[in-house]
């Protein structure tokens, strides 16, 4: 096989050029397995199974009324008047309310469940326990991604039951044992408190590293060492070891990427409704992907007929990843509603949200970056323990592996990279995707090492980066950049974002200011972070080869109504992203009609054929591209109708400003007239179907690769160690931008969460597995007066492989910002003579003060 990947660096070419007629190796079987994965991905680029590489997007941005404009959001009207419709706002006739009986222990066996007293309490309609679930034979909640062991053993996939039965063990605090259903919410809560459960507390382990050590308590009896899988990616370890040994300088960092709670302000809420008359189920759920929930619930949990189940994601109050996953309560209220023949609503309390919504991050890592004498990065060697929690959540296994390891190339030409990673069970709630999902963890590691190396080698952090940056490439004239960790970047100009960031900072002046301030005891610091992310998730064939159990395309149906109005049914789900505005901008411009004539429908499995939902910064790159495909089909059919009406060949027509015009003449027919003709086909092309309604599925050719430069400026109070964030600069390149206002809003939100991780946030389990900061009184999050006004700018390097040239902006802010803030604090301490290497996040005043005293 002579795949020419990147012949500018012979070594990379040679790397893949060994003929391999071995049978299809198991993707994860040892070092050859890695090369096999990389070959499969290269293979898919050159022998496309997905959509053709389209270059027409380069001019998407020209002569538009709406695309590229900061159009005000059409969704706002309902939200600013209190007319939003979130799941907990919905009331159905005969609706009952659920409240759960949950384990107060992190690891305990259920000896007995006694609900006799609760049965008699006022308003109680039904009580179900783990024993009822066990008797019914329905399964637990599945995971959607398989990561096997390096030696080919399959991933450990312990069951995740809807309720814990007598004799089984609760595996984390809040694990549910029973559910009480009553006429009112208050009655359900009262009765739940009257259910008595006898427990045998078995002691817990919550730290990912400790859980793998000799003698640690087992979370699942049949899972030795609490290991779900072990995994590796990159160049063969021997080559990386050699490169580290040969390095003139090695920067080493052992650090923790602490556990984060997404904390969307809307707690999860579900309504399960079985309608006896039609044998149909309806599930209202605060989800980011209604169709995925329907598929998982019907096929893998309840075994109910998918065509008789409707899943609705009405307005959803933020998700940030935590509302992607299929939770036990979703299936439980649906199942129980069929038992009692009445709708059941469950609304989570915030305390439950802290205990039950999937958490994020939680890595313990050792990272070594080797440099030659001139400061060129020669090698990166990493070992990470990734906490997965007690159960494998829907995307749990892929986040620390193929969404993290594959970004360890960063923006640098590092020739030798290897990561060894352990996916570990602990007695904590499941860990899964949280804004950025794996990419923030990779960026944190790389950008902390880069700034620290600069300090250790006495080099300027900006120059050290530039020296190691991958040279610019547009993915059209110059090929994409093949990394050592499987992915091939689509297009990039990394120097550009760093130069602009440094210019906005006025860097030279800052260093002067810093020296001046240090003289009179004031500590100022600046921190840099130049990040890249893999978004627009994802080419189905590629993720399938990496263990995904689902495709990651998106669907869009464009239905032109007889009067020329347009209804769009998208598989994406808007829960803050403004799709009802951004998608309408694209349709309106492409058809040359006003935005008011376009309606975007999402979040209803009856209205939308199928869809994989919104996460991974994919809505525009994948969902938007599906819309463009359906638009093109409408225009193609419209041209045939127009040509027939104008009595010319379709090729003689051009479409602009909402009408087909015969080239060189003023003979034209409007979009509306063509639409009407399609539904009243009196004068109509022979053999052409009436109607104007097209559905498309778009499977991306590659991930998209937004990148950017984030710079934080802080002041550290010498007396208290308190950190004040004075400036935050973000220059992001997310490819083409359809609505700048909305993209800026996404960046602002991501920055706040990334800064929150650096300075304020972090879930804390004590040694008994109790979540000691499980409420808004104890878990600090950024408030309005914790943050400055952000200083944003943008660079545009279009994506070469989707019709809109967009790369996705939902997670950029959260991916780059955290290391910039930590680097700034470290820089401030060094400016005062405190040569501190690392401070545990969140960097509270106390932690910074103690670090100063100890250096």
């Amino acid at each position: 096989m002579t795949d020419c990947v990147n012949d500018r660096t012979g070594m990379v070419y040679e790397y893949f050029n060994h003929s391999s007629n071995q049978p299809l190796l198991h993707p994860h079987s040892g070092a050859p397995g890695i090369r096999h994965i990389i070959k499969k991905i290269i293979h898919s680029f050159y022998h496309r199974t997905g959509d053709p590489v389209t270059l027409s997007n380069i001019n998407i941005m020209s002569n538009n009324n709406y695309i590229g404009q900061s159009v005000k959001r059409v969704e706002d009207k309902r939200f600013i008047t209190g007319k939003g419709r979130y799941t907990d706002d919905i009331k159905l006739v005969g609706m009952t309310y659920a409240s759960f009986v949950r384990s107060p222990y992190a690891h305990a066996k259920v000896l007995s469940i006694d609900s006799t007293e609760a049965q008699e309490m006022p308003g109680v309609v039904a009580i179900f326990t783990g024993d009822d679930i066990k008797a019914s034979g329905i399964g637990g909640v599945p995971t959607g991604w398989v990561i096997n062991f390096r030696n080919g053993d399959t991933m450990k996939e312990p069951p995740h039951p809807l309720l814990i039965a007598t004799g089984s063990t609760a595996k984390h605090i809040g694990d549910p044992v029973a559910v009480v259903i009553a006429e009112t919410y208050a009655q359900a809560v009262d009765a739940a408190e009257a259910v008595t459960v006898e427990w045998d507390d078995l002691g817990a382990v919550t730290d990912a590293f400790k859980a793998t050590q000799e003698g640690a308590t087992l979370v699942h009896e049949d899972v030795p060492g609490n290991l779900a899988f072990d995994w590796e990616l990159g160049n063969p370890i021997g080559e990386v070891d050699e490169a580290i040994e040969a390095s003139a300088h090695v920067t080493t960092l052992e650090f923790v990427n602490q556990r984060m709670v997404p904390n969307a302000i809307e707690p999860r809420a579900y309504i399960g409704h079985f309608d006896e008359a039609t044998d149909k189920y309806t599930l209202y759920t605060s989800t980011q992907n209604p169709h995925l929930i329907r598929l998982l619930m019907c096929a893998f949990v309840l075994g109910i007929p998918e065509h008789k189940v409707r899943v609705l994601g009405p307005d959803v109050g933020g998700g940030f990843g935590s509302k992607i996953f299929h939770y036990t309560e979703e299936a439980l209220v649906t199942w129980a509603s069929q038992k009692i023949k009445r709708p059941i609503k469950w609304t989570e309390t915030r305390s439950e949200a802290f205990m039950l919504d999937a958490h994020g991050r939680d890595h313990v890592s050792k990272a070594e970056m080797g440099f030659d004498a001139e400061g060129n990065v020669k090698a990166l060697r990493i070992k990470t323990y990734a906490n997965l929690g007690a159960y494998l959540s829907t995307f749990g296994p892929v986040v620390p592996t193929f969404l993290h390891g594959t970004l360890l190339q960063g923006l640098y030409t590092t020739p030798k990279i290897h990561i060894e990673l352990y996916g570990v069970f602990t007695h904590t709630v499941a860990v899964d995707a949280y804004r950025g999902a794996g990419r923030p963890e990779a960026t944190y590691l790389l950008e902390r090492l880069m700034d620290l190396a600069a300090l250790e080698m006495g080099r300027d952090p900006v120059e050290l980066r530039k020296q190691n940056f991958i040279p610019a490439f547009d993915g059209v004239e110059q090929p994409g950049y093949q990394t050592q960790v499987a992915l091939q970047y689509d297009s990039g100009n990394y120097h550009g974002v760093l130069d602009r960031g440094v210019e906005m900072l006025d860097y030279a002046n800052f260093r002067k200011e810093q020296k001046e301030a240090a003289k009179n005891g004031k500590l100022l610091g600046v921190g840099f972070s130049t990040y890249i992310e893999a978004c627009g998730i994802a080419p189905s064939a590629v993720v399938g080869s990496l263990g995904a159990r689902a495709g990651l395309y998106e669907s869009a149906q464009v239905r032109v109504q007889p009067t020329g109005k347009v209804s769009v049914y998208t598989g994406s789900h808007s829960h803050g992203q403004g799709h009802e505005t951004t998608f309408a901008q694209i349709i309106a411009d492409k058809f040359g009609i006003p935005m008011e004539d376009v309606d975007i429908v999402h979040g209803d499995s009856d209205a939308v054929a199928f869809g994989m939902g919104t996460y991974g910064s994919r809505s525009l790159a994948v969902g938007g591209s599906a819309i463009v495909k359906s638009i093109d089909k409408v225009l193609e059919k419209g041209a045939k109708i127009a040509a027939h009406k104008l009595e010319c060949a379709a090729d003689d027509l051009e479409f602009a400003e909402g009408k087909w015009t015969v080239k060189g003449t003023d003979k034209s027919i409007s979009f509306g007239d063509v639409a009407l003709t399609a539904y009243i086909p009196h004068v109509y092309p022979a053999g052409l179907e009436p109607g104007m309604d097209f559905s498309s599925f778009y499977d991306p050719a590659n991930f998209t690769y937004p990148f950017g430069c984030h710079i934080a400026v802080v002041e550290v109070d010498k007396e208290t160690g308190k950190v004040k964030l004075k400036r935050f600069i973000a220059v992001d390149d997310v490819g083409n931008v359809i609505n700048p206002m909305i993209v800026d809003g996404q960046i602002h939100g991501g920055l706040a969460q990334g800064i929150g991780q650096a300075l304020l946030e972090g879930a804390i389990y004590d040694e008994n597995g109790q979540l000691t900061n499980g409420s808004y009184m104890d878990y600090a999050m950024p408030r309005a007066d914790d943050l400055p006004m952000f200083e944003l700018d943008r660079q545009v390097t279009p994506c070469p492989h989707n019709p809109l040239g967009v790369k996705g902006a939902g997670e950029a802010g959260c991916i780059g910002s955290t290391p910039a803030v930590v680097n700034a604090v470290i820089d401030a301490l060094w400016s005062g003579g405190h040569q501190v290497k690392d401070i545990l996040m969140p960097m509270t005043g106390e932690r910074v003060w103690r670090a100063m005293q100890s250096s």
């Binding site: 208050a186 800026d744 809003g745 006004m789």
Partner: protein
């Protein structure tokens, strides 16, 4: 059960309520005014902020029985005969919201803030909104929305 009479958005309601019923639940469940949201169980997030006798209060930290005889304005009652309040307009003009869940409480707090301080500085606004969590916007455009509203309201005063 206890009898209460409350004037909400100009309409008088009287109901029998359990003493333990929170005002937020009373508004949402008894009066179906679901624009007031509940985001926490420690009166920390501010999504449930309403006006009670002219003051912004968190309706999750007041019992419904305590509202007997009071005059309450919720988000649904802020616009007057179809004309949005300048703060509502500001949030739309300056993209001061994304998912919308914290928005109603944020708006009610901002209206009270501007009533007390018609010319707030950026830090006045940030301090005034300190009791309201938002997880989507990073507060940047919320601050700009309140600044927009302050300017619009001051212009109105000039015109009258």
């Amino acid at each position: 059960m206890t009898q209460i009479t409350v004037k909400v958005n100009g309409k008088v309601h009287s109901h029998e309520v359990e003493p333990r019923t929170l005002l937020a639940h009373y508004l949402r469940e008894n009066l179906s005014l679901t624009g007031t949201h509940i985001g926490c169980d420690t009166s920390s997030c501010g999504s449930c902020t309403i006006h009670m006798d002219g003051m912004a209060v968190k309706s999750c930290s007041i019992l419904a029985v305590q509202a007997d005889g009071c005059e309450i304005t919720t988000i649904e009652g802020l616009a007057t005969d179809g004309q949005l309040h300048p703060v509502q307009e500001g949030f739309k003009e300056c993209h001061g919201l994304q998912c919308g869940f914290c928005t109603t409480g944020m708006i009610m707090t901002a209206v009270d803030l501007l009533n007390q301080n018609p010319n707030p500085s950026e830090s006045d606004i940030r301090h005034g909104l300190e009791g309201n969590f938002c997880r989507c916007t990073g507060y940047h455009n919320i601050v700009r929305s309140v600044q927009w509203a302050a300017e619009a309201m001051n212009k109105e005063v000039l015109i009258e």
